[in-house]
C-alpha cells in the first residue's frame, strides 16, 4: 500500500440531483475499502465535513441549475486533472431536464410567493459549463462500470467503455426480447450497454438512462415503434424520458 500522502486525491461533488450516484458509491461496500486504499477522499459532503484540499480527480453528480453551481464548477476545473460527470443528470441534464419553455410558469405555480424570483435555470449537463474529461452515465451509475472507469483514470488513461447496444447484454443473459415478442417500447437497441440489461431482465423495457452509443440508429427504432402501434407523441416521450433533453 502506498503512503497516504502519495495517494491520488478524489473529490465527490453533488449538484442538483437525488444524490443517487454518490449513494451508489457508498454502496460499493467491500470495494469501497479497496478504493480507499488507492485514493484519499478529500471531499464528500454527505458523510464528512470538507477537508479544504484540492482533488486530482473530481466526480460530479447532478445537473447545473444554479449560478453558484456553475461558478463552483469553473473553480473546480482549474484545480483538477480529471473532471468526471457521473450519472445521467450530470451527463445530459437527466430526468428533470424537461419543458425549457414551461419552466417559468412551473416555478410560479409551485412557488407562488417567489415564482420567477427563485433563481433556478433549466437543468444543464456539466459539459455545458466546463470541459468534461469523461462521462459515466446511468440513473443511477453502475458500480462495476464506475470501478472499471476509475481503474483506467487512476492510471492516467481514458477508459474504454461499451460502444454497443444494451441488446448485446440482454442476449447474453438469455432474455426474451421484450420489443419483438411482447411489443413493449424498449430503448435497448439504441442505448449504450453497461448496466447488464437491468430493466428487460425484470420484464420492463429499457428507459435509456445510459443514453445513445455512437452508432445508434434512432430512425430505425422510431419506425419499429410506429409498427408496434405507438403514436408520434408517445415515441417522443419514450426518447425524452432519459435519452435526450425534452
Amino acid at each position: 500500500m502506498t503512503k497516504a500522502k502519495e495517494k491520488p486525491r478524489l473529490g465527490l461533488y453533488s449538484l442538483t440531483s437525488c444524490s443517487g450516484d454518490i449513494l451508489e458509491i457508498t454502496n460499493l461496500e467491500e470495494d469501497l475499502l479497496k478504493l480507499l486504499d488507492l485514493v484519499e477522499v478529500v471531499d464528500l459532503n454527505v458523510a464528512m465535513p470538507a477537508t479544504g484540499m484540492s482533488p486530482d480527480i473530481a466526480l460530479v453528480e447532478g445537473a447545473v441549475t444554479q449560478a453558484g453551481e456553475a461558478g463552483f464548477l469553473r473553480g473546480l476545473r482549474k484545480k483538477v486533472k480529471y473532471l468526471v460527470a457521473i450519472g445521467t443528470c450530470a451527463c445530459t441534464g437527466g430526468v428533470v431536464a424537461r419543458g425549457p419553455k414551461k419552466r417559468k410558469g412551473w416555478l410560479r405555480d409551485v412557488y407562488p410567493e417567489t415564482g420567477e424570483g427563485f433563481i433556478s435555470g433549466f437543468p444543464r449537463p456539466v459539459s455545458d459549463v466546463v470541459p468534461v474529461d469523461f462521462s459515466i452515465p446511468g440513473c443511477p451509475i453502475e458500480k462495476g462500470y464506475l470501478m472499471h472507469c476509475l481503474g483506467y483514470l487512476l492510471r492516467g488513461v481514458v477508459p474504454e467503455v461499451p460502444n454497443y447496444p444494451l441488446c448485446m447484454e440482454c442476449k447474453m443473459k438469455g432474455n426474451e426480447c421484450l420489443l419483438r415478442y411482447r411489443g413493449l417500447p424498449c430503448l435497448g437497441p439504441v442505448t449504450r450497454a453497461g448496466c447488464g440489461a437491468r430493466q428487460p431482465s425484470v420484464g420492463r423495457p429499457c428507459d435509456g438512462c445510459f443514453g445513445a452509443y455512437e452508432d445508434a440508429n434512432r430512425e430505425a427504432l422510431t419506425e419499429i415503434f410506429r409498427q408496434i402501434g405507438l403514436g408520434e407523441d408517445e415515441i417522443k416521450k419514450r426518447f425524452d424520458l432519459f435519452w435526450e433533453r425534452g
Binding site: G20, L23, E29, N45, R98, E113, G203, R204, K237, L241
Partner: protein
Amino acid sequence: MKKELISRVEGHGSIGLKIKGSRVESVELDILTPPRLFEKLIVGRHFNDVPTIVSRICSICSASHRVISVMAIEDAFGVKVPREAVLLRELLLHAETLESHGLHLFLLALPDYYGYGSFVDMARDLPDAASLGFKVKGIGNRMQECVGGRAIHQITPVVGGMSAGPSSEGLKRIQQEAAPLIDEVLRFLSKEIPTLQYTPLVGVSNWVSLAGRDYGYTGGDILVNGKEKVPVRDFYQKFHESALPPSYTKHTLYGEEPFMVGALPRILNSGSKLKGSAGALLKRLGIMKSRSTYMNNMAQGVEILFSLERVVEIIGDLLDIDLPEGQDGGITAEFSPVAATGTAAIEAPRGMLIHTYTFDEKGYVTGGDITTPTAMNLSDMERTLMIMAEALIKDTTDIKPALETLVRAYDPCISCSVHIVRL
C-alpha cells in the same frame, strides 16, 4: 451568524440564526437543494412513466416514492393488487428502511453520540458500530436489488403489481443473513450508548404517523398524538402548507401547529404493537416515556429490528408460494385507466409520505401533489432549534455542533424536499 452547510445529512441544508446580544430572534432552516419541479414534470405523462420519474426525487427513499406513486395510481384506477405482489412490495419497503436507518443511525448519527466528527473517525476506535452499520445497510441494498431489480431507483413495482418475481436463491440468502443480524443489532443497541448532554432540552409536541392494525409502513388512517384519526384522503383538509414569517420556507402544519413524523412518531403511536426483539429493545430503551426528539435515533434502532424480523417472516411466506422468477415472473392485476384522482400514503424511513395524482380518461396525468416527510418536519425542526438555541446561547459560544446534531436527529433528507423552499 453565517449560514453554513450541515454535513452528514442527505442533500444540502443550512441553519441560519439571527442573534441580538444573548437573544435569539429567529431560526431559519434553508433547504439548498434546488427545486426540480417534479409535480410539474409528470403533467402530460402516461401513468406508466410516473413511478419512474418520481422515484428520482430521492435516491435513499426511491423505493418509497416508487411504491407509493404506484399505489396512488392504483387508488385512482381502483386496482386490486394480488397478495404476492403486496408482500413483495412490503419486503422492498423493509429493505429500504434497513438501508436508510442503517446508514443514518450507525454512520451519520452515532458519531454525534460518541463525539466523533464522522464515521471514519468513529470506526478507528469503535469498529463494531461502523461495521454493523455497513451490514444493516448492505442487507437492505441486496434485498432491494433482489426484489426491486436495483438498489437505487427500483424497477419492479408497476401499476397492478410487480413486473417480476425475485429469485428464490436470493431470498433464501437474505433470510439466512437476516436471522443472525437480529441478535447482533439487539446486543449492540442494548449496551450503553452515551446520551447527548443536551437531550432533555427538546421534546416532541405533536406526532403523526400512519397507524394500521399492525405496526407497519402501509395501510390505516393517519393517527395524530395517539388519538385523533384522519383518513388519508382528508390529509389536505387537516394539514396545511403555509409560509411563516420571517422564513420564506414552506411549512406543513397540523392545523396551526408544527408536528413531527418519522421513526419516533411511529413508535409513540404504534410501539405497543411491537413484539419480539423489537418490542424487548423498545421496553429497555424507555422511548415511550422519554419523548425526547433525540430518541428518533434509537427509535430507528428498534425499527431495524422490527424490519429484520418481518423480513424473515415474509420470506418464509414467499418461499411457501411457488413464485415465478425473473422476466417470466410478472404478478399483476388487470385494470384500465379512468379519469379520476388517487391519493395514497406510506411510512417512508423518514416519515409519512403522500402522493396524489389526477388522470384523464386515457391515463395521462393532469395534476399531482407530493408532500414529503422532510417538508412535514421542517416546522418542528425550527421549533426545536429555537428552543435549543435559546437555552444554549447564554453560556456557550459555539452552538453550531449542538444545532447540527439536533437537525441530524430528525434524519432530514433534504434532496427530497420537493417544494418547501422559499429563499
